[in-house]
Symmetry: C2
Subunit: 130 residues, 2 copies
DNA sequence: CTTAAAATTAGGAACCATTCCTAATTTCGG
DNA sequence: CCGAAATTAGGAATGGTTCCTAATTTTAAG
């Protein structure tokens, strides 16, 4: 099972130890502490491989660079479109019913990977300097 | 009310006429037909202004450049993380209950703007050349 | 109208995040 | 071991987007 390169292992370790939705750059900085010679392209390449393998999840941001999440436990995300803050939360979406609706409406039997809430957080509502 | 520049009007018109989730580049190409001298920076700047004003919505993609949607009617999106296809659909998410859960779990009274499903579409499941 | 201030523009440079390229190194299977 | 396959470091290249500037357009007031 452990047939990853040590660089890829180090990246996955960083993700497990930092459940804070880091950007690729932040992952790179953290991995540097374990593997000081690692290159940024290796980090990007392995992040993509880990996403492809389903080990980590890419979070699609409205602002700023993409972020990544280690899936220690199933959860959803609520993302503030103004400040980019990501909140983990649990909600029992009725995926079966949503799947059925999708099939009915779009004629496509999708596999649902995740459900994300986009909105405006409390701070951004009150700090509304516009 | 019509105190938009003609360039901004043209962009909004293009969005109303093309409910196909275009990228910024595609919007630029379409607007060129109406305003042949428009520059790409004007398109980007006005897209951002229209998003800020809530006239159009930015869709956060797992792959490829961001896409935009004119909100002719409230709907949700199901996005394929592999091919980037976007499907419009209607589902009566219980936003009040979700809001309450968010407040309880993350202690933040967010305004929910949209709920997006990320998954793998039927085609990408069967065309799985991996 | 005239005019000054404010907003917007075109065009291109700059920027940032990410991917691609290459030659060298490491890992894997037999 | 040994050859093939995978991975790496490092840097160049790319793509998408934002920023800068001087010129133009729009707006509001007189």
């Amino acid at each position: 099972m452990n047939n990853y390169s040590k660089q890829r292992e180090a990246i996955l370790d960083v993700m497990k130890e930092n459940l804070v939705h880091p950007t690729a750059e932040e992952i790179y900085q953290l991995v540097l502490e374990k593997e000081p010679q690692i290159s940024k392209s290796t980090v990007y390449r392995n992040i993509n491989i880990l996403v492809e393998l389903g080990e980590i999840k890419k979070l699609n941001m409205t602002i700023g660079p993409d972020r990544y999440d280690y899936l220690y436990k199933e959860h959803s995300h609520a993302i503030c479109e103004k400040c980019g803050n990501i909140f983990d939360f649990y909600y029992n979406f009725n995926k079966d019913e949503i799947s059925k609706e999708l099939l009915k409406q779009i004629g496509n039997n999708m596999d649902i990977n995740s459900i994300t809430i986009y909105g405006i957080c409390e701070d951004c509502k009150s700090n509304n300097k516009k």
